[in-house]
Subunit: 440 residues, 2 copies
């Protein structure tokens, strides 16, 4: 049994629970909404990720004896609240954009409907997961869009926290990366893993030739040999000598890539290794990938810039109460009033309006401040694709979005959703969101 996720939570969620239990408001039905007020500076669209992981983490959001003992002994909350937490199981419903969906400012990517006491507890966990995973997926999608179909591998585990690395690998895969270096991401999420050798392996041996021979003996001639430990032309020659013209690939991890790649391709071809591929891994980001479009690169490995969201390490989403019932059972739209952080109150539905040819035109968010009965997300708008699907229905998790299968589904959905975007979405330069978000 995996451990509880219940304390991955800001303390104020429990103190609010305690106060609400005391004041008799804890069971008021509420609607909380997750959305981004804006995209990261200059980005044209975002890619939602994390939903599938979040479902697992909500399932494990239980206050067992270990959690309750700690809360009690640290007087975080007391008596009635502890009893309530001991019995806590999320019994509400959650709708959301499908994982892999693109999103824009104010897209209601997650909608949590539950009594206040339940919904308030999920704020930190939901935001942690969605904010980080979406930051990575949004950066990754830009890299994918400029890679011209060449495979991309995620290899940034060392540049983000050790568990975040697993989430990053998954988010990158959803956004269209083909593989990851991270073994745990392979195990947990079924993502193909890759990697052969580092400079340390060459330096371990008395000569580069010893190292190449050792690697080819163990991993076969189809392996990827790292050729920039000493002198690249010498290493390329040696690599083909050792592995033969059937050598799988050479990897270049430093230097002036456009020039080097051209030289190495010419050298490999001259040596008869015309099928040997070239992979590059030197501090790449979407701009460096784009700059290599005309170079004979076969695949890319991306690390730091990917796992740190390429300048936008968090998606900046918030979790806001937008509607609640009053004591008479009527729904009330609510919103903070401060100028800079104003929120549109009321329960939302969302659709993406498309042209006849299937190109996205606008994000239509409907605010329904009166009727809150059956939740029929956007079914009523013609020429539009509904964006909200049920993820948890009265406490029961929809299984298809979970696990390796759910991850693969999210990857497919991302491809389909991205394909609807106008071509301007894929310019790397700064701009406005590629379609507007309009309220109806």
């Amino acid at each position: 049994m995996p451990s509880s996720t219940a304390l991955l939570t800001d303390r104020y969620e429990l103190t609010m629970l305690e106060a609400a239990l005391a004041s008799g408001t804890s069971q008021r039905e509420c609607i909380f909404e997750v959305f981004a007020r804006r995209l990261p500076d200059g980005r044209r669209y975002g890619v939602l990720a994390g939903t599938g992981r979040l479902l697992d983490l909500i399932e494990r959001f239980r206050f067992d004896d270990r959690e309750l003992d700690w809360l009690r002994s640290n007087t975080v909350v007391t008596g009635a609240a502890l009893d309530w937490l001991a019995d806590f199981r999320f019994s509400g419903s959650i709708w959301g954009y499908r994982e892999g969906e693109v999103y824009f400012p104010n897209s209601p990517v997650l909608i949590v409907e539950a009594p206040f006491a339940e919904a308030v507890l999920l704020e930190t966990l939901a935001l942690s997961v969605i904010n980080y995973d979406s930051a990575v997926a949004s950066a990754a999608a830009r890299m994918v869009s400029v890679s011209r179909g060449r495979p991309l591998a995620e290899m940034g585990s060392r540049r983000t926290s050790e568990d975040a690395a697993v989430a990053a690998a998954r988010a990158a895969f959803i956004a269209g990366f083909d593989a990851t270096s991270n073994l745990e991401a392979g195990r947990q999420w079924g993502i193909p893993t890759m990697g052969t050798a580092a400079h340390a392996f060459t330096l371990l041996h008395d000569t580069e030739e010893d190292a190449f021979r050792a690697q080819v003996a163990a991993l076969g001639p189809g392996t990827t040999l790292l050729v920039d430990t000493y002198d690249i032309p010498e290493a390329v020659e040696l690599a083909v000598e050792v592995a033969g013209t059937g050598l799988g690939a050479v990897r270049i991890d430093s230097g002036d890539l456009p020039v080097l790649v051209q030289q190495v391709r010419a050298q490999l071809d001259a040596l008869g290794a015309t099928g040997t591929k070239i992979t590059v891994t030197n501090d790449l980001d979407e701009f460096a990938v784009a700059a290599l479009a005309a170079s004979p690169v076969d695949s890319y490995g991306v690390g730091t810039s990917l796992v740190t969201g390429s300048g936008a390490p968090t998606a900046g989403m918030v979790y806001k109460l937008v509607a609640r019932r009053d004591d008479a059972g009527d729904w009330i739209s609510v919103a903070k009033r401060s100028a800079a952080k104003a929120t549109v109150g009321g329960r939302k539905t969302a659709v993406r309006r498309l042209t006849a040819r299937g190109t996205a035109l606008e994000e239509v968010v409907s605010v329904d401040t009166t009727a809150h009965g059956e939740f029929a997300p956007g079914a009523e708008v013609a020429g539009a694709r509904p964006l909200l699907v049920p993820l948890i229905v009265e406490g029961v998790i929809v299984d298809r979005y979970r696990g390796p299968e759910g991850t693969l589904l999210a990857r497919e959905h991302r491809e389909s959703a991205i394909s609807e975007l106008p071509v301007e979405a894929f310019r790397l330069g700064r701009g406005e969101p590629v379609i507007p978000t309009v309220y109806r």
Copy 2:
């Protein structure tokens, strides 16, 4: 028993192991070094964090049946390598800068000495932990240095991955933050937790007064009331009316803080609530904290910019083989030769040279390319403070650096190490590292 950390690893570490086992080089004794080639753009110093967490994670770095089965069925490695992994326990030694120590470009913050097969496996885990935690601690230290002794609370869990959030809270505490909103960080690392209520709590109630009364009833008048949901002056007046002049604090989470804080202070004083504190939490970073120096703020809550390293979300450290034994048992210094990423080979020791008054002058890294006998870190340099301490000695972890006690120790050490820095270190503007790193 907490789960294994062994697959939080890049695949190439295992393929290198397999190839080295086959070529007979796997047991060559090696020295790997963790260092940053440079500080993040314009920073004057870095703060090392993560060491205490890393020791726990190395203890759990075991290949149990679950890990071995997955590696086997995915043919990551085969026969001999699987047998070797089944028996793996780290038997080597690790030295490092003390957690909380300041560091500069090329400071050897971690030195791993072990047979290649063992040392190579720790690369990803060590870097993930040290890179993220140090990024947060380095940003946090800058915020602490401009806070003029006013308390700082970490509240960024929602803006980083859910487990990274716990690490971030710990790193911020080491760097001088006083508390965190993250409950798991409280449980695991003994960090004081804080937090009372969000806007949702006010919006849940029919009136702001109902909300304030509910909160004060549950948490007492010493609580912190959030006053910017609707109208700040009205809320401040109401807060004092409900809680009395003994109200603990008011929190402002939006708006033009220097102006608002001044107004709220005047209003509180006029209402007789002269002891009521003001805490601010609106998208702060080190620059915003510095800009509030002359305002009557009593404490700060910092989120996004802290957990994302305030523009530098990774410390960018690398894990490099710098020396190994050859078959005759002699130590050989090794280094990659490529221009952009050249490494200084050889085993290092490091001391910080200080003036007679105890101000840091330079980081002295001694490269010892010949003698590699007893490891006596820097004891020989007069007027200097040795920087390396043993963390793991022949497989045995030094316990004093672990757990809540180790975290507290790191916090104290950070305070002492920072106090040695020249005053220019604390300028927020961009500059060079405040002391040079010199090789002897």
